[in-house]
């Protein structure tokens, strides 16, 4: 068959179909059955002498306080080691992907607190972030880490997610940006570059920390080579936890942040 580039392009276009997901107007994409989303802690008190979960956590995300067991999603690697060792099944990871929070302490889950599974997630918009309701341009800064968070930010640009339809875009120059989206624990070697990039963004501006590294240092927490996250040097307006967060978690957080959902 004689083909011309144009015909081949058209043929492939038909074959590849329309793929942009209906979310947020329609349903979110299906998450796999083994997906680990928001942790849920059993409100019943743990046996007194048991601290298996705390010692199993590689990043000290779990701790006891008077009100009971706490889990810091900002540190959590979502590896499930705690759930595996818990003898009473008091820790489980739900399929709730809505993890973003405005304040750092909101990432801490308490056993005493009731789970909001199935309920609407709290609004995240701030006086500043509302200004970017229809157009948010972000300069992404990768400041250490493993590049998985970056990869799942990039995915939002693919046509399946098509973040551009909400007016949210990654831009090349901080001068064109309304804020920065930071990944990585902020290595010593990236500190200056991150500060400079932040300063280059015109005010009003926002800072978004994506991934457990950017929030707490992640697996590198307390290494002298890094700074335990973005908050160590910049004010953070939005925290999106995960290691890495699912693209749906990132998108949902951004949409809630600009008041789109």
């Amino acid at each position: 068959m004689i083909t011309t580039p144009l015909l081949s392009i058209l043929r492939a276009r038909v074959k590849q179909k329309y793929r942009t997901m209906p979310y947020p107007k329609g349903d979110p994409p299906n998450l796999p059955d083994r997906y680990m989303g928001k942790p849920v802690l059993d409100p019943n008190p743990c046996p007194e002498d048991c601290s298996s979960c705390i010692s199993s956590c590689p990043v000290e995300a779990l701790f006891f306080q008077e009100s009971g067991l706490h889990l810091d999603m900002g540190s959590c690697l979502f590896c499930g080691a705690c759930a595996d060792v818990c003898p009473s099944g008091a820790i489980r990871f739900s399929k709730d992907y809505r993890l973003a929070a405005k304040e750092r302490n909101r990432l801490v889950i308490e056993s005493a607190q009731s789970s909001n599974e199935g309920l609407p997630a709290p609004p995240l918009a701030t006086a500043i972030s509302k200004k970017f309701h229809r157009s948010l341009r972000l300069r992404q800064v990768s400041a250490g880490g493993c590049n998985a968070c970056e990869a799942d930010c990039n995915v939002l640009n693919t046509l399946a997610w098509d973040m551009g339809r909400f007016g949210i875009q990654f831009v090349a120059s901080p001068r064109h940006a309304d804020g920065i989206l930071v990944t990585g624990p902020v290595t010593e070697n990236m500190k200056v570059a991150l500060e400079k990039t932040y300063r280059a963004v015109p005010a009003p501006k926002v800072v978004i920390a994506v991934g457990s590294c950017a929030i707490s240092g992640g697996p590198y927490k307390d290494h002298p080579e890094q700074g335990n996250g973005v908050s160590s040097i910049l004010p953070v307006d939005l925290f999106i936890p995960g290691c890495p967060p699912h693209p749906l978690t990132i998108l949902e957080g951004l949409l809630r942040f600009v008041g789109r959902i």
């Binding site: 081949s8 080691a81 595996d84 060792v85 880490g145």
Partner: protein, 511 residues
Amino acid sequence: MRNGERIPLREIPPLDFSRFKATLKDAVATGNRIAGLWAVPSGSGYTLYSAILHPSRQTIEVVCSMVEKVYPALTPEVPCLHWFERDLWERYGTIPQGHPWLKPIRFYQGEAGKVDFFRVEGEEIHEVAVGPVHAGVIEPGHFRFQCNGERVFHLEISLGYQHRGVERALTGGPNGRSVHYAETLAGDTTIGHATAYALLVEGLSGSKPSFYAEWIRAIALELERLANHIGDIGALSGDIGFLPTQSYCGRIRGDVLNLTALLCGNRFGRNLIRPGGVRYILEKERLDNLRSRLQVIEEDTISAIELFFDTPSVRARLEGTGVVTAHVAKELGLVGLAARATGLSIDARQDIPWGYYRTQRPPVSVHGTGDCYARAYLRWLEIQESFRFLHQITQTIPEEMAVEKKPYPPTVPEPDSGPLSGSHSGLKDHVSTVELTLTPQSLGIGITEGWRGEIVHVAATDENGKFAWYRVFDPSFHNWFGLAYAMRGGEISDFPLCNKSFNLSYCGHDL
């Protein structure tokens, strides 16, 4: 020794330095290759170690030699060691006399980029500096081009911005974080690195994962290769300005990542590989789901990528751009797809097989033109081979599972106890409970072929069976200089294309 085995440290023959050097030189000359060179301080000097791969025998030879702080550099006679000797110089202050180019590669002191860059002087020469913050959503690195008009005389790449102290932190392990360090050495190569780590720990502890676990690891590794190769062809397409394939491949890559998430809940394969085996089983129903989705993905991939290579303007942009010849690739010690794209048949799955690849492996693909076209086309060849291989090995669940009913974790999984049991599909209670005890005073090595190329993890245990030191050689460690070389004489506008065609890891290099 074989891949994933251990040897007592005292059995590593200390050679005198001239013999050590001759051994390395011969290795390269006879078609073997050097998987790593590293040093360990001992007394007033250092013990220099090297691991040599012998593909014809599928074995690894580890040799060592004692050197003082100042020693004659190996690089002038064995050029592929130039980056390794820079590493040693930066790490310990050893002085390899005669090394042409001693500069830091990771900037442990936190002052990345503070270095005298190579400069070309002349009336019409200009310099272009890029990074560490790049235009796209990518990792940080600094690039310094010496140009005459559009023509690049030289590109110097300065890294280290991603340095987060992983090798240092692995020392004293294994502990709870160790496997997470391995999984995040390079996020896009989670399976490749985690498998190399697992091989090393299994070797040092004398345990062996079940064939069933090895099978799942192989499936996950090929899925990782597929996702990245497909994504890279899409990204190359974007850099050429050919948007259809960019759009399609970007999405298809996501579909493959979702298959990995089908295996373990995470798109990058986090929490799947654990020393001793795998964390999740692959049941019949899940396998059928995987197979049918893989079939659809393959059809979409063929349509997207054939379109790419059938388009004359795409081929014209790739052909002849960023050429690295086989001779240069060998001299520089390139590995993985960058080496295979010059015609060298280098592939750890063939040369030093481990696990499932000992019994069955896809054939090695090579394409000899060494340009961006070759690196793109090689990915396409490997995509096809990985699809074929996956179809083949996912036809049946290996016998062992059916017979023993216990892959890893060691007890039979319970049925899922309903929606509240969360994401573990009944595997609760028997993961993370297996503690492997490592043999003291031994050296272990784990090598895998990640999608970029050869991944080497090597470590030794102290008298308590803890890691006395741990070294990681990501394929990017060998290949970054290859990218710099590919730009020589090219145009500065070729850089995005060359860069993408190598697609090297910053974090895997910086550690």
